[in-house]
């Protein structure tokens, strides 16, 4: 039985914090203003704007801030301002006892994939893979991807329609949606936070990786049995990819197409989930229908 945290209503409190990398306070102002505009009361955790070298605090500080917000009954959702790196350093120290009784939406992506994956794998609690604070800046606070986060928090069912791609493998799939950043999903394999992908719709995205490394990580997913029993596969955008001096010889999309060619579930490419502007809110643990044809892909929440 999957636990869906309660949706938010006007006046509810949203906590904002940084469980991983450091983020200057001013870079989160627009996000805070937008959340306030949406009718939420925003409270700030100590780790937002706080810096300890690369991190937004020591492991203890970040752990404490997140634990405190998870356990505080007055907070209805936790908005991670930034990813970066650091969630994996504290995940095993978090306690979920109170959180299980009072689940709330955890919002973020990238390094937050660790928390999404952990929450669903161990506790069957749904969470939100969605834009974080930086995505609100530069006048983007009103775009449809940011809007999709508001809709998700309010409990409106998503219906994302996306352009087709020549590599799309057509078909329909029903299943629980899981996924996130490929590097983190690969990193979690073999640990207690790893994803179980059987009969699921999996989505993946990544940023700034070498193509050979995407290939290597996809091989890990494949060889650890994460790809053979999927219901469907959603390939998000792989942005700012890097290549080696001797070119790898394939694009990221070609790499992925080849690795999953033996499976007959639907696969869509270029879905708007990414480190770029195109990043729809997706419920990890939510139930969706994926319909893929060469001319479009539709992800509909059930």
């Amino acid at each position: 039985m999957i636990i869906i945290p309660p949706y938010l209503k006007r006046g509810d409190t949203v906590g904002i914090l940084c469980p991983a990398g450091y983020m200057p306070l001013e870079k989160a102002i627009t996000a805070v203003e937008t959340l306030t505009e949406w009718g939420f009361h925003v409270i700030r955790g100590k780790t937002l704007g706080h810096q300890f070298h690369y991190f937004s605090g020591t492991d203890e500080e970040r752990l404490h801030d997140l634990q405190h917000m998870m356990d505080d009954k007055n907070i209805k959702a936790i908005f991670c301002a930034r990813g970066g790196y650091g969630m994996g350093r504290i995940i095993e120290k978090l306690h979920f006892k109170k959180f299980k009784k009072n689940p709330k939406w955890i919002i973020g992506f990238s390094d937050i994939t660790v928390l999404h994956s952990h929450l669903f794998s161990k506790y069957k609690i749904a969470s939100l893979h969605a834009p974080m604070a930086a995505a609100f800046n530069d006048g983007e606070f009103n775009n449809k991807y940011i809007q999709s986060l508001k809709d998700a928090l309010e409990g409106k069912k998503a219906n994302y329609i996306n352009d087709g791609h020549s590599f799309n493998k057509k078909g329909k799939a029903y299943g629980i949606l899981i996924g996130g950043n490929l590097s983190l999903l690969a990193h979690l394999i073999g640990t207690s936070s790893e994803i179980n992908t059987k009969n699921k719709i999996l989505f993946i995205e990544d940023v700034g990786e070498y193509i050979y490394n995407v290939d290597r990580m996809m091989y890990q997913l494949k060889r650890s049995g994460k790809l053979n029993e999927l219901a469907g596969l959603i390939i998000g955008k792989f942005t700012d990819m890097k290549d080696t001096t001797i070119p790898f010889g394939q694009t990221t999309e070609e790499v992925i197409r080849d690795i999953v060619k033996e499976y007959d579930y639907p696969v869509c490419f270029n879905f708007p989930v990414s480190h770029d502007r195109e990043n729809y809110a997706l419920k990890v643990g939510g139930e969706y229908k994926l319909s893929v044809s060469s001319s479009k892909s539709i992800l509909k929440e059930l």
Binding site: G21, Y22, F52, H53, Y54, F55, Y85, G88, R89, E92, A186, H187, L188, I189, G190, T191, S192, S193, E194, Y212, D215, R216, M217, Y219, Q220, R223, S224, G225, T244, I246, P247, F248, G249, Q250
Partner: protein, 347 residues
């Protein structure tokens, strides 16, 4: 040295391995049975024996393997050059099919007594599941290399229980032998000694961050990125009761930390006899103002702080000029004290 540590580290290996573990058994992980299997040692080489050169990963030219070819001929071996040497397919030494076929041919050919890889790079994981190890298991031979070759070391150790050699390969033989550093020459010489069946002995600098103790166990390890990449696959490294060595190159500190967490959280540090930290080289600089704030010593010691096995740093293994040949699968004794570090192959 701490007496308690010393005593706990000399508990016979058999006390910790081979015991029935219900949890592992029910999970369907048959590694405990593999653990019981004695390691098979390929035949050591004699003059006139043939060493094959193949490239299961990245591309290397015929010219670039010449220093290795000449040196190994000088050692008295004959060299057989595989089809993948100088076969350029983008970053790879041929297609997956070609690389798998060349590797397969070499492991199956009874006239070849050892296989040295041309270079690492990337690509072993793309072909490992296509390789049929049946003949190799019946007639094992030495597989020599490092970096991407960690895939073979880990896979062969976990599944076939055959010893392999983690060492420099063709691309890292110095082209100008006369001007090579003595320790670099020594590193290359260690391959010859391994192949000749010498009992290996190494020393390392006594770093102040080392954790003292004496431990005995089978040696296994390799490149950290590859070890993470093999987690939960058929080639996953089995570390229980073993001395693990790790090395890395060209990574960010945060990424190294993340990979170490994978090893820790997947239980790879739990039941070690000892940890050998090799070179962590050419670490990529952090963005100014966002420095990671921990060095390699700190991040590793943090991961193993609850264990009392010995740990040594800067052991001469890795992507560096001094990279000694280590026999994976063979039993070794590591002695880490305040004045010295030694790793000795034992019976």
């Amino acid at each position: 040295m701490n007496r308690k540590n010393f005593l706990s580290s000399i508990v016979p290996l058999s006390a910790s391995v081979g015991a029935f573990n219900k949890e592992t058994f029910l999970k369907g992980n048959n590694s405990i049975f593999e653990e019981d299997k004695k390691i098979k040692i390929p035949s050591y080489l004699k003059r006139g024996d043939v060493i094959g050169i193949t490239c299961p990963s990245g591309y290397i030219s015929l010219e670039d393997i010449q220093p290795a070819v000449e040196k190994m001929k000088e050692w008295g071996f004959e060299i057989r050059i595989g089809d993948t040497v100088s076969d350029l397919n983008f970053t790879f030494a041929g297609t997956d099919k070609e690389r798998a076929a060349d590797f397969q041919k070499m492991i199956d050919d009874p006239s070849i007594k050892a296989i040295m890889l041309g270079r690492g790079g990337y690509g072993a994981v793309r072909i490992i599941d296509k390789i049929n190890f049946k003949k190799f298991a019946a007639k094992p031979k030495w597989i020599i290399g490092f970096s991407d070759a960690t895939v073979f070391h880990s896979h062969i150790n976990a599944n076939l229980r055959i010893a392999t050699i983690h060492s420099k390969m063709c691309n890292s033989f110095p082209s100008d032998w006369a001007n090579a550093e003595p320790l670099q020459i020594d590193s290359i010489e260690s391959i010859r000694k391994c192949l000749a069946g010498d009992k290996m002995e190494y020393t390392a600098i006594a770093e102040e961050q080392n954790k003292y103790g004496v431990a005995e166990g089978e040696l296994i390890g390799g490149n950290l990125s590859i070890l993470q990449n093999l987690a939960a696959t058929k080639s996953e490294i089995q570390t229980d009761g073993k001395i693990l060595f790790i090395e890395e190159v060209d990574e960010y500190l945060y990424s190294i930390d993340r990979m170490l967490w994978n090893l820790k959280r997947s239980g790879k540090f739990d039941k070690l006899k000892a940890l050998i930290v090799g070179g962590f080289n050419r670490i990529k600089p952090d963005d100014p103002g966002e420095e990671f704030g921990e060095n390699i010593y700190e991040m590793i010691l943090e991961k193993v702080k609850e264990y009392d096995y010995p740990v040594c740093f800067n052991f001469p293994v890795g992507h560096q000029r001094i990279n000694y040949a280590l026999k994976c699968g063979m039993k070794h004794r590591l002695n880490v004290s305040d004045i010295s570090v030694s790793l000795i192959e034992i019976k």
